[in-house]
Subunit: 421 residues, 3 copies
């Protein structure tokens, strides 16, 4: 997966434009994405699709001819969606258009101005503070014109029409963890799911943040009721602890599945309540939709110093971190697929497991083995109201142990799937 | 306010009598109190208004003519409601009538015997232990006779008939924190409220503790349904942390308003569950009424050593503590006035705040400003079920920030007040 | 009680056989137990009553004639339910039939094989590891034959048909804490209850663990609805903290009664949630029955090193620990008997306790005495929905204080028992 992050890293992406198209095309080498275009001016919920922005090159040249900013060096050096401009100005006139980070003097910040027509350059604060008086040459060679906004979608059908939505934003230029990590892990998760039998259908959406999710919701407004569970993937390539942010709606099954997967994997993790600041869980969790879509991250947005700077680069993301994130997500999918409610068919007293070959023959030991405990928990709790996830939470036993026990007990005729499933 | 505490301090108050009348008259210099008299013998709920007690002077003189107790020195030196008596007795006969505090040998305790006809003197334990044998002269020049019980009331009408009840007990003699602090802060809060527009009506009651509240409830039994929120004020002049005691009824809005006001003011504070021991929340919270009336204090009754002793004097109460208590109470009133439920008028996805001038133009920053967060929280949570107070609790944002955001969003047509309001 | 543990200790008990009968006969010296026999082959829920096992003697003799194991020395030295066998074998052949505990080299483990026909010896690991090569003589003189399974039952009738079930397993041989302690405490509790007037009926069951409870449930399937509260007693003779394990069903009154009894007795204690591993709460709490039967212990099964070994002997159990366990259980019974809901007959304001002689005459003290607080709590909370147990939990006051207050208030006409009681 790290190779994919490396390949995608140099491409200049924004919320529209050729960079997004090039990135989605590259992903089609992994999964057969459908690529959709929505024209400039289209109304999507409360928003309007903006003009398409394509940057050829932006340069800021100093009085002595020194190149201060140049997007051929890094696509972060221009404010995203800067209007085309060619002009000269004094340092004082230029200053309001320069963006740097005084507390991180060597890093270049990532700045955008999608909906306010302006322009600007981003640069290291050390450079910004050393600029001499004189005449500066501003040259932003870009187009901001009628066009379209692009997103990719891939649906892996399952037995049921009920869907699991996985979404990753694709609008950031050369920022590795936020969010090439999410994009690449989502694509590999999609391929893995497509190769295995499944109960749910899975929908993968690769779209710009905010307006992309809004656009997708506008186009799919009638179908969102199919979404049973969902996850935004972002910042999954760094080495921090796992962080899961809950959807607006409380008590979602996806919360329990992610929590149990992280617990069972014995990874350091935290679970955060919903807040309307972050990624596209804001849109899926707007009160008119209120979908059970959480956000799966390692270090969250805004919580690592490299966030939205030139230091969110290929050094921050490691192959093993991507792999671990993918592994946990596979576990989450496995839990969602396996989770169900059972009914104990011999609910009066414990059934005699021994004569069915399900119980240790020799008694008297102080503790039962995990597999035995898992059978006792499944039998005791399976009254049709408790899902395996709920039993995993209550018992503290690994979901996999309960799932194995449920299988053995179902084969022995002691458990049946509850009617409602 | 401290000047008012000083002026009221020397007056001899009890649950009836001229001291209460004199105190209420003095408060009329601040607010136009109505003064009510309820005659001796009137039945008020399970109680009967007692005879009126007026003390001219109580003195205890020792065998050698030394004045041991003299209410001209401090009105605490007699047991409140002592019957009139003029007699001589030995020290042994006198002892059961003497009250002192062995663990605080220099302080004089405050003792009462409203409903049991007896008499007594209160004195420093150091003095009590040094008394010589011999004949003592007891002279309690008081009247205990048909009369009335007095209370003051001030109603500030608002748009709505729904009321906020503020009550302070006025029956204690020279005890500064308990409760001249509550009386004076209540009067100043009343004046401040009367000078501002308001949604609720506000009712201020200045009455004796216990029987005064019972009397008020008996006389207003049919109208208590108007009380939407209420607070007892007591012990609000000392320098301790703020303490809010919840009403019997759980989950009252007044609880949330006081808690958020204290949190937002960043003052040290604690929230205590209801118990049927304390001030008049006991009466308002009796099961037949069960009104949402909490108790707002700094150091609670019984939790500071000077409580109910001569050391609860003008040294214990400081002007700045009274001011801070008043400031928090104004915040509570402000929250109750502003709190309401809104409905997001653009609930599908986040509305585009930028084109309405409500959002920062430049993007990419790691954290949103408080005002922006407040707008996102208000939009996300306003589905008609969540009040601003509930959003303040959930978001951790200051109520004032949410209130400002709600105003801006309402003006932009993005929020409307929920129909039920 | 310790004398009874001593008398019962040497008897060879198992899930069937003469040892159980002898033990139950001995208990009839304390309480008039009914003794029931259920024949081999009877179907009890999902189980079948096994053949009856009676051991005369089991011996293992080494190549040099040394006696390695001999049940005349300790009845733990044979695997319980070993089939009869007389044979000779090499050490290698013998090894799979030897059970010892490497981590406790001097203790003999307790092992059973009720439902798998095999045989074996239990011995100290130090001995097991020192065995020489050569021919060993195995002589297990036992019968495994048609017969019956035995249990004892004692019902103490009360005013109501609603029952409190107390159950102790009686199938363990010479293990003192698990469970002669439970058996003896149960018997003495039964006698004490029979000597006092009571509202509930009480049913005491002395049966083998697991299959005994299953057998009892099978025979009483139609009557389990009468069980209002229940406790399994086990491991109540050691010096550890008290441990109460909740039933499967949440929020049972027995939970609250035991918790308040332990709290009020100021004993160290812990409350554990249900799990389907432990004692017969597993059977009473199977989903088809789901009875409110908790488990009352000191150190729980598997949590003390001597558990299920020869070290669970008469040194582990102390008379004073048995007495304290019995005392707490009497408190639990007292709480269940006294607990009820009251309705305040003077719910508007506090009633005037003083004129009814229920309140301290002299006022002004910083704290109320416990008895006064108990009256105020009972009056304030008694709206017909709150039981005394609930008030004990909420107020933190001892149940006994509330019960005394309720009595005084009921005599004064201020409280009445709620209609539903």
């Amino acid at each position: 997966m790290f190779d994919w992050v490396e390949r995608l890293y140099p491409i200049s992406r924004s919320i529209t434009g050729e960079g997004v198209r090039a990135s989605l095309s590259m992903l089609r080498e992994i999964i057969p994405l459908d690529i959709h275009e929505v024209p400039t001016g289209a109304t999507v919920l409360d928003w309007v699709v903006p003009r398409e922005w394509n940057l050829r090159r932006a340069r800021l040249v100093g009085p002595d001819g020194t190149v201060i900013c140049d997007t051929d060096r890094s696509n972060l050096e221009v404010v995203q969606y800067s209007i085309p401009i060619q002009t000269k100005m004094t340092l004082a006139e230029l200053r309001p258009h320069l963006h740097s980070m005084p507390d991180r003097p060597d890093w270049i910040p990532y700045r955008t101005s999608y909906y306010n027509e302006t322009w600007g350059f981003c640069l290291a604060d050390r450079v910004a503070r050393s600029l001499a008086e004189g005449e500066y040459r501003v040259d932003i060679d870009a187009t901001l014109a009628e066009g379209s906004m692009t997103y990719g979608e891939y649906v892996v059908g399952g037995e049921s029409e009920r869907e699991v939505l996985i979404s990753a934003h694709i609008c950031h230029p050369s920022l590795a963890n936020d969010n090439l990590s999410g994009v690449v892990v989502a694509a590999h998760l999609a391929r893995w799911i497509s190769e295995h039998p499944r109960r749910y259908s899975y929908r993968f959406v690769f779209a710009p943040a905010t307006i992309g999710a809004i656009m997708w919701l506008a186009l799919n407004r009638e179908n969102v009721g199919r979404i049973a569970h969902g996850l935004i993937l972002s910042c999954v390539g760094d080495g921090g602890a796992f962080n899961y942010k809950q959807p607006r709606r409380g008590g979602a099954d996806i919360d329990r599945a992610v929590a149990v997967a992280m617990r069972d994997a014995k990874v350091e993790h935290a679970i955060k309540p919903f807040s309307p600041w972050g990624y596209d869980e804001r849109q899926y969790g707007s009160p008119g939709f209120d979908l059970p879509v959480g956000c799966f991250m390692r270090t969250p947005n805004g919580c690592y110093p490299e966030y939205h700077t030139s230091a969110d680069n290929l050094d921050l993301v490691r192959p093993e971190h991507l792999e671990k994130s993918l592994a946990i997500l596979k576990d989450v999918v496995g839990i969602l697929e396996a989770d169900r409610r059972y009914v104990n068919q011999s609910p009066h007293g414990e059934p005699q497991l021994g004569r069915r070959g399900l119980y240790t023959a020799m008694g008297g030991y102080a503790n039962a083995a995990e597999g035995q405990l898992a059978m006792l928990w499944m039998l005791n709790q399976s009254d049709g109201s408790m899902s395996m996830l709920a039993i995993a939470e209550k018992s503290g036993l690994p979901f996999a142990a309960l799932s194995a026990a449920a299988g053995a007990l179902e084969r022995a005729g002691l458990l049946s799937v509850a009617a409602a499933e």
